[in-house]
């Protein structure tokens, strides 16, 4: 088995474990997620325990990963390159939160809920992908225009 195949196998196992954890934690039930967000109503703080459990394990693993030059299966770590807290981050997070509150689905649980074979999660996931592609197209277009202005300042764009 090549390291690439091993990486794929680990990814598949992680996806399965992720689905297991989301279901156990209650995150695949959009009503439970909305009950966590309903602080002014009958608040259910359970999801803080999901985050807490995940972070306790994650803190240890990410600290161990940061000390290594390469992952166990070789190649490079795909560490995020952005570190700035800017308007785009704040606007994006704010918009995501509104969608999360409206549906009770964030991306992971929505994908797991596809397995339920209901129409709701299918609508949520396809709209989510549409939103991603639309935003990618718009931000790529904006980036091209900025590059053009920089490279050809004499052009009126």
């Amino acid at each position: 088995m090549s390291n690439g195949n091993k990486k794929d196998a680990v990814a598949a196992i992680c996806g399965l474990l992720f689905a297991l954890g989301l279901g156990l934690g209650g995150m695949t039930n959009p009503l439970k997620v909305q009950a966590f967000l309903d602080v002014l109503g009958k608040w259910d703080p359970s999801l803080m325990f999901v985050m807490g459990g995940g972070i306790v394990v994650g803190l240890w693993a990410f600290r161990a990963a940061k000390r290594r030059a390469h992952p166990f299966l070789g190649g490079d770590f795909g560490w995020p390159r952005r570190s700035r807290i800017d308007g785009q981050l704040l606007a994006g997070a704010a918009i995501f939160g509104v969608g999360w509150g409206l549906t009770g689905y964030c991306p992971g649980p929505a994908l797991v809920a596809l397995g339920a074979g209901r129409i709701g999660p299918a609508v949520a996931v396809s709209s989510m992908v549409l939103g991603m592609l639309a935003t990618q197209a718009v931000t790529a277009g904006a980036r091209r225009r900025t590059d053009k202005r920089r490279d050809h300042p004499h052009l009126a764009l």
Binding site: F18, L90, G92, L102, G104
Partner: protein, 139 residues
């Protein structure tokens, strides 16, 4: 499934922690679901295949839940399709602009102690709470 479930939710969180830990330590990848989906468009080769295997695992996991314990998905049709479409679209826009969701910023980012992810998580939890407060008429 409804009501306060500290034990089940902690257990679920620990399993999520194991999943994000294996993916970073073995594959060197961050288990941020919105990024795994969004960046699979245009990806190729090994960078595409691990994404598809991970996402396949998520959906197969959902099928196993359906067979073993379909109650985890909650009551059917609790939210209208128009709301699901609108909200889903906003989730896609927001996670693309903000480079992450509950898993990438919330679980992995906070585990990395990234200030950017901590801020993002506070913001999306706050607007999520505000949205539920408005839609349920709590304000």
């Amino acid at each position: 499934m409804m009501g306060f479930t500290p034990v089940g939710s902690t257990l679920g969180g620990l399993v999520l922690g194991v999943a994000i830990s294996l993916l970073i330590l073995f594959d060197g990848r961050i288990a941020g679901i919105s990024g795994i989906v969004g960046r699979s468009f245009g990806a190729r080769g090994g960078d595409l295949s691990w994404r598809l295997y991970f996402l396949g695992g998520l959906v197969v996991g959902g099928l196993l839940w359906r067979l073993g314990s379909p109650g985890v998905f909650g009551a059917a049709s609790s939210t209208g399709l128009a709301t699901l479409a609108t909200g889903g679209f906003l989730v896609g826009v927001g996670t693309t602009l903000g480079n992450g969701c509950t898993s990438g910023h919330g679980l992995c980012g906070i585990s990395r102690l990234s200030p950017r992810s901590i801020v993002a998580t506070l913001v999306f939890v706050a607007t999520g709470m505000l949205t539920v407060a408005v839609t349920r008429g709590r304000l």
